[in-house]
């Protein structure tokens, strides 16, 4: 095989291959075997059905049809196929998960550093609220959008201050004798005798 041809060929780990250690470098990688270690490459990773990676994967593009126990991080997109199983976090600008895939982990389609900065930034709308507990309630109702990412400069809409809760008089304590008539009572004292007893 000529050098040029081999340099452009993607790497392939066959079904019986086992790598104990990390895989790094350039180029695409198709995994049909097993890797016990991290994969950090600047190409595309295809984890075929039957392939297993015990470790993190960081690549330009990741497609999972096999099993992963570790985090996936991509600068372009991550796709989990219907046969894919992943126990770990996913982070990429675009993530696609087919119906049937098993995913257990956190999903981030936004740069985590930027998002936490937006949450931490003081929001003037909330500070106008007179009652501290109301503002907490408002903040909880604004769950961040999880699909499509957050537009830069997204500001939470202003809500009218909630009215103070109505004063409701406590219900009078129910008397013991005031049993609703519909409920039958089989207590001995009520009828004087139990059904079936010879009078």
């Amino acid at each position: 095989m000529s050098d040029e041809r081999t340099a452009r060929m993607p790497s392939l780990l066959g079904p019986t291959a086992l790598v104990l250690g990390n895989v790094t470098g350039r180029g695409d990688l198709e995994i049909r075997g097993r890797i016990q270690g991290n994969v950090v490459i600047d190409g595309r990773v295809l984890l075929a059905r039957g392939g297993v990676v015990l470790g993190n994967i960081e690549a330009l593009q990741i497609t999972v049809h096999g099993q992963v126990r570790g985090d996936l991080s991509s600068s372009d997109n991550i796709t989990i196929g219907a046969q894919g199983e992943i126990e770990g976090n996913l982070q990429a600008p675009r993530v696609g998960i087919e119906a049937g895939a098993l995913v257990l982990g956190q999903l981030r389609t936004v740069d985590p550093h930027r998002r936490s900065q937006e949450i931490a930034a003081p929001n003037p709308a909330l500070e106008k609220s007179p009652n501290g507990s109301h503002s907490r309630r408002k903040r909880r109702r604004h769950k961040p959008h999880t699909e499509g990412g957050v537009q830069p400069g997204f500001a939470e809409p202003e809500l009218e201050a909630r009215p103070a809760p109505l004063e409701v008089a406590p219900a009078p304590k129910a008397q013991h004798a005031d049993r609703p008539p519909s409920i039958p009572t089989f207590v001995k004292g009520a009828h004087g005798h139990r059904r079936g007893d010879a009078t």
Partner: protein, 106 residues
């Protein structure tokens, strides 16, 4: 096409083993253990032992090579390590420093 191919530019920081054929054009900072044909291409670098049924070397190995059938050191090969195999060829242009043991018990 080999079962397992490590293309140029890929680095395995650890050991690689396979039941099928192996072709290495990249770098393995560890052992390569195959059960069939193990081909180490011209740009390859392996820094530990290589075993297989048939081992063909055109790259650099800093480790021993052991094969159950044959070992071929091609032109451009650089082997610093010992060879254990029933059959061995060393091509003109191959570089080899080590011991050779061809009395391998079947």
């Amino acid at each position: 096409m080999a079962d397992t191919t490590i293309a140029a530019g890929l680095i395995i920081d650890g050991n690689l083993q396979s039941d099928g054929s192996v072709r290495i054009d990249g770098t393995v900072a560890g052992r390569v253990d195959g059960k069939g044909l193990v081909e180490l291409g011209p740009g390859s670098t392996v820094s530990a032992d290589v075993t297989g049924q048939r081992v063909s070397v055109a790259g650099a190995i800093a480790g021993n090579v052991e094969a159950t059938e044959r070992v071929d050191l091609l032109a451009g090969a650089k082997l610093t390590g010992n060879v254990r195999a029933p059959r061995l060829t060393i091509a003109d242009g191959a570089s080899f420093r080590g011991k050779v043991d061809m009395e391998v018990e079947p």
